[in-house]
């Protein structure tokens, strides 16, 4: 019975690989992160009125800053976001991403609400200027994520899950209720939850290009599966 069940599951997995249609929002075009005027599914209302390039809001092929990941969006000037602290927190190297060069800071160039989503380092050649955005819905007149939006996290990360800290076997042991990461690159053997040089960053939980698992989660959180990949309560 058990063996038959395993065969069934394996077959199911293979079948899904073969026949699964392109899931909605599996492509950045069909997500809220497509800020261009190009029509895509599930875009925000205040998309650009004049810029049809999609990648340009975040990436540029040349003269990127920072170079990796070929970043094109103006970075936030917020010098300090603070960090989450708690008496039961065992991570000892949580570092404020403000003013630094940690990868999570790139996300904050839009999501702290201080810089317009259309503030680019190298605007597209066809327009030659920062894109013009709609406003009054998700964005304000300055193109910033509007105050009060859940996606506007403000300039404090003290009330957010910590990022920018080392997550390794030592931390798992110290905490007692955390899974031991399989490597410095992934928490889990299935490679759903990535680490960045052994650190938890925004992109450990969020994949900005794929909104299959709303909101841009790296895996499904049905049954709190994403949370419980690390947190074993």
């Amino acid at each position: 019975m058990k063996r038959r069940a395993l065969y069934f599951l394996a077959f199911t997995a293979v079948a899904l690989l073969a026949i699964a249609p392109a899931a909605a929002q599996a492509d950045v075009v069909d997500t809220m992160h497509n800020l261009s005027s190009t029509a895509g599914a599930d875009q925000i209302t205040d998309i650009s009125t004049d810029e049809d390039q999609i990648c340009v809001f975040c990436h540029t092929p040349h003269q990127a800053s920072p170079a990796a990941p070929l970043w094109n969006h103006t970075q936030s000037a917020v010098a300090s976001y603070g960090v989450y602290t708690s008496p039961t927190l065992d991570a000892s190297d949580i570092t404020d991403i403000g003013g630094g060069s940690d990868v999570s800071l790139l996300c904050m160039s839009c999501h702290d609400g201080t810089v317009g989503v259309n503030s680019l380092g190298n605007p597209a050649n066809d327009t030659g200027a920062n894109p013009t955005m709609g406003s009054g819905n998700e964005l304000n007149a300055s193109g910033q994520i509007a105050a009060g939006r859940p996606t506007n996290m403000g300039s404090s990360l003290a009330d957010d899950h910590p990022v920018n800290f080392t997550y390794d076997a030592a931390l798992a042991t110290a905490d007692g209720e955390l899974a031991t990461p399989v490597s410095a690159s992934y928490v889990d053997a299935a490679q759903n939850v990535p680490l960045f040089g052994g650190m938890v960053q925004c992109a450990s939980c969020h994949d900005p290009h794929d909104n299959t698992n709303v909101p841009f989660l790296t895996m499904t959180n049905s049954g709190s599966q994403l949370c419980s990949t690390c947190h074993q309560k």
Partner: protein, 585 residues
């Protein structure tokens, strides 16, 4: 990416097996996968009811449940050694109360709206029941306070113990409860931080005097005490229930000191023949004369102390109601099975404070009489001279109701409570007693069905069918007709040989008075003693203190006894119409 998703599904399915003891299997899993009955009808996420990764309110611990704005009545007690009453809960305890005070819907979140749940109480809130603490926290173990080192019966949990204080050093709900795991204590199943068998959690902080040192019978007894007998824990013996045999950390019937019931009702839940070997409760209901334990409620207080302004004991108010609760004589944390010899306390009275002969508190009282002295010595509300109480006491020539004065070893005469008696020649003594013996108060004042009088009922002056809670019958006054002297004066003849007395071995006229004139021992003798502040060695040796209801002055107007040496004396009085003016022997 597609590949990753499908692999995840496969792995998750493969890993799904019998669930370990964790959040998923607990009542705190309110998602569709929870054990119910309260569970979501569509929300599959477990964490979301309490936690959120972003914009948490409050930030720590990434809290997502809508907070309560309730104000609370908090625990207060006369023996609490921190601020009374305590402040409203703070810190993480507020988070627990966001569901457990019953004012906010269980599915009401900060960032995920109102999550629909099945089988909730009214308005989606916690159903009425033990998990719903309400806004009245006076009957719940206090939280959000810092222990005071002045309380020598508490300690901080040791480092690394599952019982923890918060970073401010405060006791919080999570000091005892682990909200993510229900069955660390697999019997109680109350999300406890560790196995609470034998009160391991309670005793992490509560280092109660005597509890483990004696150890208390309540700590060590293997008597059956389970659900059928009223245990609320699931444990089946007194020892395993530990503190919980008498206390409830939440919603007991007696808020102060978190007792399961008020006063003696906590004790008689077991001492009524159902758990403890002896039925103490029936002594109070079946006997004619009892200590006023069941008759008096709300008078006794655990903070009683000679210097306590609110609850002084000995009493300072003559109008205060007499009381005697179980805890006045017994310390349930200390009491154990141990014999002793007078005047030392037995195990039953161990660890109880008392009042010494000088009127000062002694804690614990080493001697039994010191426990009696709490109420029967200098208390202002004991029977008063000039106003004989009900039941009537003998109307004596020298009136004294302070038994500490009556038993003072320097008195002209006294029974041997604090020390041996004054009279070095008492030929009537039997039963192992001699002139150097010391007595317990309970040698005379005791259960009339206890072993002291040949019965099997529990020891102690809880109640007796004989007045003054005497162990044996004692006739008073005059006109005691009949010939069963052993019955009429059984109390005295317990230690003083009836044969010796009636054969006039000491006082040559005992037989004439007792048999010839039907007069009680109590007409001439005052059993406690005669205070040196009132009597004299000449007039009041041999416990002589006349009963004025029987004896009147002599023809020359005198009413006195004069000690004239061994077994010799003179009396000036009139009795049965016979003038002793004086008569000598």
């Amino acid at each position: 990416m597609r590949r990753r998703i499908t692999l995840t599904v496969a792995v998750a399915l493969l890993l799904a097996g019998p669930a370990a003891a964790d959040l998923a299997t607990s009542k705190h899993n309110l998602s569709t996968s929870g054990p119910g009955p309260i569970a979501a009808d569509s929300e599959s996420r477990l964490c979301v009811f309490c936690h959120t990764p972003h914009n948490a309110r409050p930030a720590v611990p990434l809290w997502n449940h809508e907070s309560s704005v309730e104000t609370y009545s908090t625990y207060t007690s006369t023996t609490l050694q921190v601020a009374t009453p305590l402040n409203d809960p703070d810190g993480s305890s507020k988070l627990c109360l966001s569901c457990h005070d019953g004012t906010v819907a269980l599915g009401q979140t900060v960032n995920d709206g109102l999550i629909s749940l099945l089988n909730t109480g009214t308005g989606g809130r916690m159903p009425v029941g033990r998990a719903n603490l309400g806004s009245d926290l006076t009957d719940d173990h206090p939280v959000s306070f810092v222990r005071t080192p002045a309380n020598l019966e508490t300690v901080d949990p040791p480092p690394g113990d599952p019982v923890k204080l918060d970073d401010a050093g405060k006791v919080q709900c999570i000091s005892c409860h682990e909200p993510h795991v229900e069955d660390i204590d697999p019997v109680e199943l109350r999300f406890l931080v560790k196995d609470n068998r034998q009160s391991a959690i309670c005793t992490t902080c509560h280092a109660v005097d005597f509890w483990t040192a004696n150890p208390s019978s309540h700590q060590s007894s293997t008597a059956s005490y389970g659900v059928a007998q009223g245990a609320h824990t699931g444990y089946g013996t007194v020892r395993d229930n530990g503190c919980a045999s008498c206390h409830r950390p939440h919603s007991g019937n007696e808020p102060q000191r978190l007792l399961k019931f008020a006063e003696e009702l906590t004790c008689d839940a077991c001492h009524d023949g159902t758990v403890a070997q002896k039925n103490i409760a029936v002594e109070f209901s079946a006997k004619t004369y009892t200590h006023p334990t069941y008759d008096t409620a709300g008078v006794h207080d655990a903070s009683e102390h000679p210097t306590d302004p609110t609850f002084p004991l000995p009493e300072t108010d003559p109008g205060a109601r007499r009381h005697a609760e179980c805890q006045d004589c017994h310390n349930p944390h200390a009491t154990y099975d141990a014999n002793a010899s007078a005047p030392n306390v037995t195990g039953a009275l161990a660890g109880t404070w008392g009042v010494n002969a000088g009127g000062s508190r002694v804690d614990p009282a080493p001697y039994q009489y010191q426990i009696c002295y709490k109420c029967h010595a200098g208390s202002a509300n004991k029977p008063q001279e000039g106003g004989l109480p009900n039941p009537p006491y003998t109307d004596r020539q020298i009136v004294q109701f302070d038994v500490a004065l009556e038993f003072d070893p320097s008195n002209p005469s006294h029974h041997a409570i604090e020390g041996p008696g004054r009279n070095g020649n008492v030929p009537s003594l039997i039963g192992g007693y001699d002139e150097s013996s010391i007595l317990y108060c309970t040698d005379c004042h005791n259960n009339d069905d206890a072993p002291g009088s040949g019965g099997t009922a529990p020891q102690g002056p809880h109640g007796s069918d004989f007045n003054h809670i005497l162990e044996r019958n004692l006739n008073y006054g005059d006109n005691n007709t009949g010939s069963n002297y052993g019955q009429m004066y059984a109390m005295c003849f317990k230690c003083h040989s009836q044969t010796s007395i009636l054969n006039d071995v000491s006082f040559g006229e005992h037989d004439k008075h007792i048999r010839g004139e039907d007069t009680s021992c109590m007409v001439c003798h005052d059993p406690h003693g005669v205070s040196g502040t009132q009597g004299s060695d000449t007039a009041n040796s041999n416990l002589i203190n006349f009963d004025l209801s029987v004896i009147t002055p002599s023809g020359s107007g005198q009413l006195r006894f004069e000690d004239q040496g061994t077994f010799r004396g003179a009396c000036w009085l009139t009795c049965h119409g016979e003038d002793h003016d004086p008569l000598t022997y």
